[in-house]
Amino acid sequence: MKTIYILWIRQIIRFWRSKPRLFGSLGQPLLFLLAFGFGFGPVFAQAGRGNYLSFLAPGVICQTIIFTSIFSGIEIIWDRQFGFLKETLVAPVSRLSIMAGRTLGGSTVAVFQGVIAFCLSLLVGFCPVNWWTVPLAFLIMIMTSLLFTAVGTAIASVMSDFHGFQIIMNLLVMPLYFLSGALFPLDNLPPVMKTITRLNPLTYCVDGLRGVLLGAGVFSLGFDLLVIFSVLMFFLFLGSYLFSKIQI
């Protein structure tokens, strides 16, 4: 337990000390909310789809979470490069508890950023239909962050240097985000897009959040949660397995 705690607190301390990361994390969601929210708002309203900013806000919250959590998972590469990983791997503690501490730490940071994105969206005019659903939204945010931290850990466990990092961002994170329905409605899509969005786990995170906060989900909340939970379990096991196989 102490191992998990110390690894968790380390992530928090590192995050807290790196102020550029803290402020940078505010910039991106704000830009998306303002540029997209107000930019596409009129078109969206003309099409009879209502308020785009409200539609977009859950997507931007998920965006913040997925970027931060995949990045936290991938930080293992940094630790490997700068040698700190060895220090933890020769300690008399199980790999599983190391992985657990890191994942919880990364996820806490991501949820924290997600909450900031949520507050920013409130500032620019977003309003949940029911305030009592916010705790449920919080739960979805936690699950989303755990899921993508585990994905990042799994990737970082098989990558030995930074070179693959840009590829991961461009070929994994960006497509996951843009093809998740975070920015556009899921109905009336061309068949190919429809299939892709339905295979994307982030779709269900965004949809769940939208369902909870706006009552406007495409799938039922139960189905969203079931999908997120299953994928989360899968990646937690995969991440733990790959992490346990790391050789220095």
């Binding site: 102490k2 191992t3 705690y5 110390i6 380390r10 301390i13 590192r14 000390r17 790196s18 700068f82 040698g83 700190f84 990983l85 060895k86 220090e87 933890t88 791997l89 020769v90 300690a91 008399p92 503690v93 050789q247 220095i248």
Partner: protein, 263 residues
């Protein structure tokens, strides 16, 4: 009395390359043992096997009587290590780095904090403990790593090139700490180095490894006698056919040293 490190017929293969080829040696309690060889001779691989980071292909290893493959945690509690490359968290303070280590090794707060203060005193970093490690010089980082590896009172201390890339004064200073700790706490020291004069001055016994095989093992007098040499440098040359730094001038170490200098 049983040896604290005993290795017999150890082999480690990576795919088709044999990194360590059937080596056998022992290290006694309280000994300062130098493990020398040119680059790529198998030193670091051997240390990794002894410290549970790699599994042996075949052969027996016992660390403090435990098997590194099947009794990992018992082995891990028995040793402390300073790696060849830095392994501190630059974003944390010196104190936090040490504290992190103490917690990982299951020490309670009072015990570990007392120990941390004592060790910081010994490596003369007490007044710097609240600073972020990224503000430290190379020598200060090394001293901190040396203190860190000793927090949990290890019986064996592995030092892989502890003084590489440091200036002579700092190297001297670091060895003074190591030898003091060996005397004070009876810690067994197992080290590798490229500086033969360090091995000559500080070790009780030495092993020379080349191409994965141990070519000689014994005390300094024995090695000199064996090769009819005046100095360790000469003995090393006769045993391995080349100087210790011949290959170290090559890419690997240079890059490592440059990387370290940049941090």
């Amino acid at each position: 009395m049983s040896s604290i490190i005993s290795v017999s017929n150890l082999v480690k293969k990576y795919k088709n390359v044999i990194a360590v080829d059937d080596i056998t040696f022992t290290v006694e309690r309280g000994e300062v043992f130098a493990f020398l060889g040119p680059n790529g001779a198998g030193k670091t691989t051997t240390i990794k096997v002894l410290t549970t980071l790699l599994f042996p292909t075949s052969g027996q290893v016992a660390i403090n009587g435990y098997n590194p493959t099947t009794q990992q945690d018992l082995v891990r509690k028995s040793f402390g290590i300073v790696f060849q490359d830095p392994s501190l968290d630059d974003e944390l303070t010196a104190w936090e780095n040490l504290d992190f280590h103490g917690v990982l090794y299951g020490m309670d707060k009072a015990t570990r904090h007392k120990r941390m203060n004592d060790l910081l005193e010994i490596v003369q970093l007490s007044d710097k403990k609240k600073l972020l490690v990224k503000t430290f010089s190379g020598g200060m980082k090394r001293r901190l790593e040396i203190a860190r590896g000793l927090i949990h009172h290890p019986l064996i201390y592995f030092l892989d090139e502890p003084t590489i890339g440091l200036d002579p004064q700092t190297r001297n200073q670091i060895w003074n700490y190591i030898i003091a700790l060996n005397k004070m706490e009876g810690t067994t020291v197992f080290f590798t180095t490229h500086y033969l004069e360090e091995a000559e001055r500080y070790s009780h016994r030495l092993a020379i490894i080349d191409h994965g095989k141990i070519v000689a093992c014994g005390d300094l007098a024995y090695l000199k006698d064996l090769t009819q040499s005046e100095h360790l440098e000469e003995a090393f040359l006769k045993l391995t056919g080349h100087e210790i730094r011949e290959e170290s001038a090559g890419t690997g170490d240079n890059i490592r040293m440059r990387l370290r200098a940049r941090r």
